[in-house]
C-alpha cells in the first residue's frame, strides 16, 4: 500500500473531527438546560385535568380527543375523575390555568423541538395583551 502512513493519519483526523460534538458534550458535562416550567399559582388551580404524569405523556392525545368531541359531536363539557367539570377548550381551559404559555407549553416544546401549529388559529390571550 502506498502512503499508508498519510492515509491512516488522515482517517484518524477525520474520525476525531466527525465525532467532536459527541465527546465534547461528554467531557464538558454541559447539556442543554432543562426547561424551567411555571405552574399555576392559584389555590383552585392546583390540579390538572388528569395526573401530571398522565398529562406529561398524553396531553396531545387528550387534546385531539377533545377536538373531535367538541367539533364533531358537539359536546363541550369534560368531567375529571374527581368530578370537577371543565369546558373542553384549549384556550379557555388549558390556558385558563397555564396562563403563562410561554413559560409552560412553549418552554417544554422548544426543549423537545415540538412545534404544534394549533396556535395559528387557537388564541393565546397573553399574546393579545402584548399587541
Amino acid at each position: 500500500m502506498y502512503d499508508s502512513g498519510k492515509i491512516i493519519i488522515g482517517i484518524i483526523i477525520f474520525i476525531a473531527l466527525f465525532t467532536f460534538p459527541t465527546w465534547y458534550l461528554f467531557t464538558s458535562g454541559e447539556a442543554a438546560p432543562m426547561p424551567d416550567l411555571v405552574y399555576p399559582e392559584n389555590e383552585d388551580q392546583k390540579e390538572c385535568v388528569y395526573s401530571a404524569e398522565y398529562m406529561r405523556a398524553s396531553h396531545m392525545d387528550l387534546l385531539n380527543e377533545w377536538r373531535d368531541i367538541v367539533v364533531r359531536e358537539g359536546k363541550r363539557t369534560f368531567t375529571t375523575t374527581a368530578g370537577k367539570k371543565f369546558e373542553m377548550s384549549m384556550t379557555n381551559t388549558c390556558l385558563g390555568c397555564h396562563s403563562n404559555k410561554a413559560q409552560f407549553c412553549d418552554q417544554c416544546h422548544n426543549y423537545l423541538e415540538v412545534n404544534p401549529y394549533c396556535w395559528d388559529c387557537h388564541v393565546d390571550p397573553s399574546q393579545l395583551e402584548n399587541q
Binding site: 367539533v71 364533531r72 363541550r76 395559528d120 388559529c121 387557537h122 388564541v123
Partner: protein
C-alpha cells in the same frame, strides 16, 4: 347443474339489477318528495331561519347582524372583494333572487340590500364534494358544520355551493381582525370558512349572535320540526321565498317579502 353461457349471463344481469335496485328506488321516490319530508317532521330538530325582509329594510344600511357575527367568530375585514371573508353579507334583491320572474315584486325591491347567509341546506352540495368530511350535515339538527382541522383547502365546496356562502383564506387572517375574541379560534391561511348557525352559542342555550343583535327582530331562528315554533308559525301565515329552490338543495333560510 347445466349452466349454459346464456343462462349465466342472464343470472348475472339479474343479480346486477338487484344490487342497484336500492339506488333507483331512491330516484323514483323523489317524486313523492313532499310526502317523505313531511313525514320526517317530528323526529329530532331542524334548525332554520326566517328573514323578514320588510323589517330588515326599515334600516337599510344596517350592519348590526353582520358586525355581531363577525366579532363573535373573528371574521377578518380584509377590505377587498377578491380576498374578502364573509359569514353574513348583503346583496341586491335582484341578485339574491335572480330566478324570480315577478317584475312587480322586483319593482320595489330591485336594488334593496338583502342579508344572506349559509343556507344550511337539507341537501348540501358542499358536503357531497368534500373529500375529507371537513364539512358535513349534522343528523341531529341539520346544521351544515365545518371542521377546520380537517379542511385541506381544496375549495371544491366553494365551487359546489350555488350561493357563494363559503370564503377561502388566501392569507393569514389575523392581521385583519381588529380585536381578536379569544373565546373563538381564528382561522389560518389555506382553509375555507362559513356560517355555522352559531353552533357553539346554541350549545350554550343562546340564540345565534345575528338574531340577538337585530333590533328590528327581522331574523327569527327556530326548530322547523316543532309545530308550535315561531318559525313554523311565520311560514304558515306568510308567503316565503327560498334562494334558487329549483336546484334541489332545500335551503333552510326563508325570506318573507
Amino acid at each position: 347443474m347445466d349452466v349454459t353461457r346464456r343462462k349465466l349471463l342472464k343470472l348475472a344481469g339479474l343479480g346486477a339489477l338487484g344490487l342497484t335496485a336500492g339506488k333507483y328506488a331512491k330516484v323514483f321516490a323523489n317524486d313523492a318528495f313532499t310526502e317523505t319530508t313531511l313525514s320526517e317532521i317530528g323526529t329530532g330538530k331542524r334548525w332554520a331561519m326566517v328573514v323578514d325582509v320588510r323589517k330588515c329594510l326599515v334600516k337599510e344600511d344596517c350592519r348590526e347582524c353582520i358586525n355581531a357575527c363577525h366579532i363573535t367568530h373573528n371574521v377578518p375585514n380584509i377590505g377587498n372583494t377578491k380576498d374578502e371573508i364573509k359569514w353574513i353579507w348583503k346583496e341586491d334583491f335582484e341578485n339574491v333572487f335572480s330566478d324570480q320572474e315577478n317584475h312587480y315584486l322586483k319593482e320595489n325591491l330591485k336594488d334593496k340590500r338583502i342579508p344572506i347567509f349559509c343556507n344550511h341546506c337539507d341537501n348540501p352540495p358542499c358536503v357531497r364534494v368534500c373529500p375529507t368530511q371537513a364539512t358535513w350535515k349534522r343528523e341531529e339538527d341539520g346544521i351544515v358544520m365545518m371542521d377546520w382541522h380537517r379542511c385541506i383547502g381544496c375549495r371544491y365546496c366553494i365551487v359546489a355551493c350555488p350561493y357563494g356562502s363559503r370564503s377561502f383564506n388566501w392569507q393569514d387572517p389575523r392581521p385583519f381582525i381588529d380585536n381578536i375574541n379569544s373565546e373563538f379560534p381564528t382561522r389560518s391561511k389555506g382553509v375555507v370558512e362559513k356560517c355555522t348557525f352559531c353552533e357553539k352559542r346554541l350549545a350554550e342555550g343562546k340564540q345565534p349572535a345575528c338574531v340577538e343583535a337585530c333590533k328590528e327582530k327581522a331574523l327569527v331562528f327556530g326548530n322547523l320540526n316543532d309545530q308550535n315554533s315561531e318559525v313554523r308559525k311565520l311560514l304558515k301565515e306568510n308567503f316565503s321565498l327560498r334562494r334558487k329552490p329549483g336546484l334541489g338543495t332545500e335551503p333552510e333560510i326563508y325570506y318573507l317579502v
